[in-house]
Amino acid sequence: MLNITLEKRPSDSKLMSYLSPIFAVILTLISGGLLFTALGQDPFHALYTFFISPLTDIYGWTELGVKVAPLTLCAIGLMLCFKARVWNIGAEGQFILGGLGGGYIALELMDAEGFWVLPLVLFFGALSGLLWGALTALLKTRFGANEILTTIMLNYIALNWLLYGVHGPLKDPDGFNFPESALFSDFATLPVLSDDYRLNISIFFALFAVAVIWALMSKTLLGFQISVLGEDKAAARFAGFKEERLIWFVLLACGALAGLAGVSEVTGSIGQLNPYISPGYGYAAIIVVFLGRMHPIGIVFASMLLALTYMGGEMAQMDLALPKSLTGLFQGMLLFYLLACDLLISYRIVRKPTARSTGSSSNSAQA
């Protein structure tokens, strides 16, 4: 009889780290098919509705882009932090602050006309996110505060600042006390790629950020230092890298990128400030980073996949009358299988013959 056991690999398998997400997707599809069958649906038709039908026209692809842009911007910033082993969970707060800061400027410049308005709004959005990231950097480098805790807490504070703003000073004066700002002027609104669709130029910000961060990580000394700091702190110190400066850099960069995502969302798809400017993009981006293997291109694909699960969930509700919880189930299965398959990066499955009890005992007796 054969026993199947796990054995530690001598070194991590590069191949498996790329194959693991593919296995995870395949396993998710198989389990999803079974799930649909159990729900009394034709599994192929249901999977088609969930994963293919949202993307059968140009409109679907542009809508995917609407979600991919903020996800990618947040995720690429988080990747920088995670590479340096700075566990920043705060992209959500930085996103919200970016939206709030940029939105504030947009409201102040309500009557201003000119093409300088939008860049100024975007700049202040990114700056607000950056300053929010700076708080975490200060707390970590000066007081040694754990960034996981500080960023999570700062997320709540950011959300409450937003709520204060839209319930208070930033409320639309003609809005019957409802917690929303006025709609931004055209000069403070991101241009869309085509009048028929919602996709705006923030998708280019995202792609540009991906290219820049990729170049930074693979071609520059700074990128090298960040990787070394993440992989071996002692070595980084020994080489004379300035740890604190690197921590500041990754947190500020992530804050600015998430802030840019936030301000792009409010000046783009939403067009005003309201209490729900983020459907949790900052948190979803954490999943995206791991699903994307901490690689810029991987992150783009992972953003697309995650965005697709949201859209597929909506399609399944409209066409098949299936419940919303399916979206969560698919995201959960994907993560579960990914973590399970990731085990194979450091371990491999081996088949061992069962030790025969008599033989082994006599062997040990002789020894």
């Binding site: 140009i58 319930h167 006390n177 409802f178 917690p179 509700q317």
Partner: protein, 359 residues
């Protein structure tokens, strides 16, 4: 590039055609967008009951679809647009945050009729509707005022917007009318739906001496909290008696079915127009769930009498004299707050304890 333009043109043409041709045999497609899960109780549950009502009433003549738990941000616009693109002729968007997304989609799909609940912006093909739930609030306030022993009533509220403040004021007005010594304590849970937070707020209020609770949030957590402590509670949105047989005195409920049926009929007849509907107890859209037997007969009779008076129009809930928290008379006897004032409430009436979050 040219191919892209062509494809776009073809698609637009296809969409336009699809929207134009409504043959007699085709059922009318009605879409619903819900902010929460349809579940067993609460705001979205109530709208889904309305959907089931029209399915029952119109049978083969209509086909309905819904999308639940749609976040009120940028995502909602896609869902609404998708419903319109899939050939729905009438779309109900049932949460305040869908207001601007609904109007944006409505501009693009001119043949489709949109109905937005709780909003204040209308367009050529977008109407608005809401229920005068405050009339029910007032009646439940009477019950609470009569039945409290500690003279402290707890109110778990969501966000300080006019709709919620109107409810607090109507409830307090009823409670103070029934019992001048009553104070109503308000805790802001800052959420529409979060059972844990709602429960926490309910516990806090009971610790402060409240023996009757009510809520302007979506779950039944407040009822359950009251039940576990042997106190009374009054629900909202739908009949919540299943969550606390002893505690549940009654609920202010919405009955969207008749209103939805009227709108569907109007579209079928080709008489639909954009308007603002604000029906209440008289139209049967606002009502009370069955009253608990713990309520004494004289209180039940009082509620029945006042309800009839609201129905007949002999009383309006916000009739003067109305005092603000400082005791100043805001509305003199003989006059009444108009709908405009009701829709922009941002102050508390006398009897509410605490400050409105500053704005």
């Amino acid at each position: 590039m040219r191919l892209n333009k062509l494809t776009q043109l073809a698609m637009t043409a296809a969409l336009a055609l699809g929207a134009n041709i409504v043959s007699a045999d085709e059922p009318l497609k009605v879409g619903f967008v819900y902010v929460g899960p349809t579940g067993d109780a609460g705001w979205s549950y109530g709208h889904d009951q309305g959907r089931k009502y029209i399915v029952e009433k119109f049978g083969d003549k209509i086909e309905t679809n819904y999308v639940e738990s749609v976040a009120e941000g940028a995502d909602s616009e896609r869902v609404i647009r998708q419903l319109a693109a899939k050939g729905h002729d009438l779309i109900f968007t049932t949460s305040f945050g869908y207001m601007n997304p609904t109007l944006k989609v409505a501009k693009r799909f001119k043949k489709v009729k949109f109905e937005h609940a709780t909003g204040y912006k209308r367009g050529k093909n977008t109407g608005t509707y809401f229920a005068r739930a405050y009339q029910g609030r007032y009646l439940t306030g009477l019950i609470a005022g009569k039945m409290t022993k500690t003279n402290v009533i707890g109110y778990v509220a969501s966000f300080p917007i006019p709709e919620v403040i109107r409810g607090i004021n109507a409830f307090t007005k009823g409670a103070v009318e029934a019992n001048p010594d009553v104070t109503v304590k308000v805790v802001w849970a800052s959420t529409w739906y979060d059972p844990a937070k709602e429960r926490e707020a309910a516990e806090t209020l009971m610790l402060q001496g409240a023996d009757i609770l009510t809520q302007h949030t979506d779950s039944a957590a407040v009822i359950q909290a009251a039940e576990s402590k042997g106190n009374f509670a009054i629900g909202y949105h739908s009949d919540m008696s299943a969550y606390g047989a002893k505690a549940h005195l009654t609920s202010t409920v919405h009955n969207w079915g008749p209103l939805y049926a009227e709108k569907v009929q109007a579209v079928l007849d080709g008489t639909w127009k954009s308007e603002d509907l604000w029906p209440g107890i008289a139209e049967g859209v606002t009502d009370l769930a069955p009253l608990n037997d713990a309520i004494p007969a004289d209180v039940k009779a009082l509620v029945a009498k006042k309800k009839q008076a609201i129905k007949d129009g002999t009383i309006r809930v916000f009739d003067g004299p109305i005092f603000d928290q400082s005791g100043k008379e805001v509305v003199p006897a003989g006059s009444s707050l108009d709908d405009g004032a009701l829709k922009s409430f941002n102050w508390y009436v006398k009897g509410v304890e605490g400050q409105l979050p500053k704005s």
